[in-house]
């Protein structure tokens, strides 16, 4: 998900709503809000998709605030224990929390940008251990439904993974499975 215009990941990550407050009147565009107004009045709040915001900010038509997936409440929860936060409920099940965070970091100013970056990195580091652990465990054991004692907790965690983490999980699991297959195949032929 580099700085590529055509990157599908970037497009998906941008597909999140951000609360904005308009500063000026905009005639005839009332339908954007889903309401029945004909015009947008100044200082009216609405939820706009993130990819609209750079233009609005640059031409000074609106003001945006930090979107809910990165609010103070979420940050406190992540500080307390990163693995227990369900990232998928913050950005929708196909959403990309980290991707969205990266896009926001480019738009907001210091020092908030630095803070947000640190939050993203720390969360990723904390959750990665669990992701990899679960992936190897399930991949190596084949199709064990519960996987030992903490089946429920594991399932909860897996539901709460965001898009990037889900990909990593799938990759690690496939890799563990193939390694196991390779081990078994070479054992047989050696005999």
């Amino acid at each position: 998900m580099e700085n590529d215009y055509y990157s599908i990941d970037a497009i998906l990550a941008e597909n999140q709503k951000v609360p904005c407050a308009f500063k000026v009147d905009i005639p005839d565009l009332g339908y954007l809000d889903g309401g029945s107004e004909k015009d947008i009045k100044a200082s009216s709040k609405s939820q706009l998709p993130f990819w609209l915001t750079p233009v609005l900010l640059l031409s000074d038509f609106a003001d945006c605030i930090l979107p809910p997936p990165f609010s103070q409440r979420v940050r406190n929860a992540l500080n307390a224990e990163a693995t227990s936060v369900k990232l998928s409920s913050l950005v929708g099940s196909g959403g990309l929390w980290y991707g969205f965070g990266r896009m926001i970091v480019h738009v907001i100013e210091e020092p908030y940008a630095k803070d947000l970056t640190n939050v993203l990195v720390k969360t990723f580091k904390d959750r990665l251990v669990d992701i990899m652990d679960q992936a190897q465990h399930f991949g190596a054991l084949g199709n064990h439904a519960g996987g030992g004692g903490d089946g429920q907790k594991g399932e909860d965690f897996r539901e709460g993974l965001d898009g990037t983490e889900r990909e990593l999980f799938a990759l690690a699991q496939a890799s563990a499975k193939r390694t196991k297959q390779w081990y078994e195949s070479s054992d047989k032929t050696r005999r």
């Binding site: 215009y5 750079p54 251990v129 190897q136």
Partner: protein
């Protein structure tokens, strides 16, 4: 027939660099193993991948590697790379002396052992003294000259196969198209052709022992491996060229990019770029008003519609020579010593890669 006996002797003697060269083709399962060994919790997967050829003498290693379907890599006897140190610590990997662990090749200047400030680095070059008495610029020039000598010495000693393997891993890891290695590819392809002909000639002989059959199978396996590496190299370049087709054809990048491509690649880039542009025009751009049809708009906060090479991508690299001070993006300098492994943005070390003083891993 004396011709066949010659061929047989050549294969058994291991004097032909392509055939049964232990230093270049033994080792752990190729670049796919590098991925898991680098992951954070990699203990599970890395020992699995690394143990496939740990401490195995050469013929067994070849069989096992080939069944695993892994491509060959020239990196030593299978010890998983401990590297990937962050760029903030000049952390010289301590098992460096096994990285180029050639069974036959002792005392080679390439087996860099990255040390600390004292004792490491270029022989006979006292850093402390130099930094105190000379200008930094002078030190850099001196190191630059030595680095170039090192590069040249290495050029002459390496076999074609090792050069190809290094070019292949570099090409796969770099986000940008690297200068083409035309002559290298040409000579490798010649070798492959010669070896295949030799094996075919030997096949026609009547007095083949069991050992001969076995030997011919190994030789053919070797040839297949080399063909795979060549194909993968070309495929990696092609992928990047197609992705950056518009960038390559843009006027301002001509001087930089065109010399890096072969004529065939350039022709392909032009054809592909033309097709892509035609497609965009027909489906989208021609339906827009005149002023919106350009692809080179510069809108702030939105990436350019012409995909540019992602030079800020972090890459692991292994320093083959002493590179002296590198300028980091925040202005500070950073000392890179021979044999050390670091993780940095591609942009900061691109010039070193083009001079062959480092390799990407």
């Amino acid at each position: 027939m004396s011709n066949l006996d010659d061929i047989r002797r050549k294969f058994y003697d291991n004097s032909d660099p392509l055939a049964l060269d232990s230093s270049s083709t033994s080792g752990a399962g190729g670049s796919t193993a590098i991925g898991p060994t680098r992951s954070v919790s990699g203990s599970g997967s890395s020992t699995a991948a690394g143990s496939s050829s740990r401490n195995a003498p050469y013929p067994n290693a070849q069989n096992r590697n080939y069944r695993g379907g892994a491509s060959s890599s020239y990196r030593g006897k299978g010890r998983p790379r401990q590297g990937g140190a962050s760029s903030s610590s000049a952390f010289a990997s301590s098992n460096d002396d096994t990285l180029y662990d050639d069974a036959d090749d002792g005392g080679n200047g390439r087996t860099g052992r990255g040390g600390g400030w004292n004792g490491g680095g270029v022989e006979g070059f006292d850093y402390g003294q130099a930094l105190r008495t000379q200008d930094i610029a002078d030190v850099d020039m001196e190191l630059g000259a030595r680095a170039r000598e090192g590069v040249q010495a290495r050029e002459e000693e390496e076999t074609d196969v090792q050069k190809l393997l290094r070019a292949w891993t570099n090409e796969r890891h770099a986000p940008d198209v690297l200068p083409t290695k035309d002559e290298l590819l040409g000579s490798i392809l010649d070798e492959i052709r010669r070896q295949t002909n030799d094996v075919n000639a030997l096949r026609a002989a009547e007095d083949l022992t069991e050992e001969d059959h076995y030997m011919m199978m190994l030789v053919q396996t070797e040839v297949e491996r080399m063909k795979f590496v060549v194909r993968s190299y070309v495929r990696a370049r092609l992928y990047k060229i197609e992705k950056l087709a518009a960038y390559i054809l843009a006027d301002e990048n001509k001087a930089e990019m065109h010399p890096r491509l072969t004529t065939a690649e350039l022709r392909h880039a032009q054809a592909y770029g033309g097709l892509l542009k035609g497609h965009f025009d027909a489906t989208v751009l021609n339906h827009l008003p005149e002023s919106q049809r350009g692809m080179d708009d510069e809108v702030p906060m939105v990436p350019n519609m012409i995909t540019e090479p992602h030079k800020d991508k972090p890459v692991f690299f292994h320093a083959l020579e002493d590179c002296g001070q590198i300028r980091l993006p925040d202005g500070s300098g950073y000392l890179v010593q021979k044999g050390s492994i670091h993780l940095m943005r591609y942009r900061t070390i691109e010039h070193l890669l083009l001079r062959d003083e480092i390799e990407l891993v």
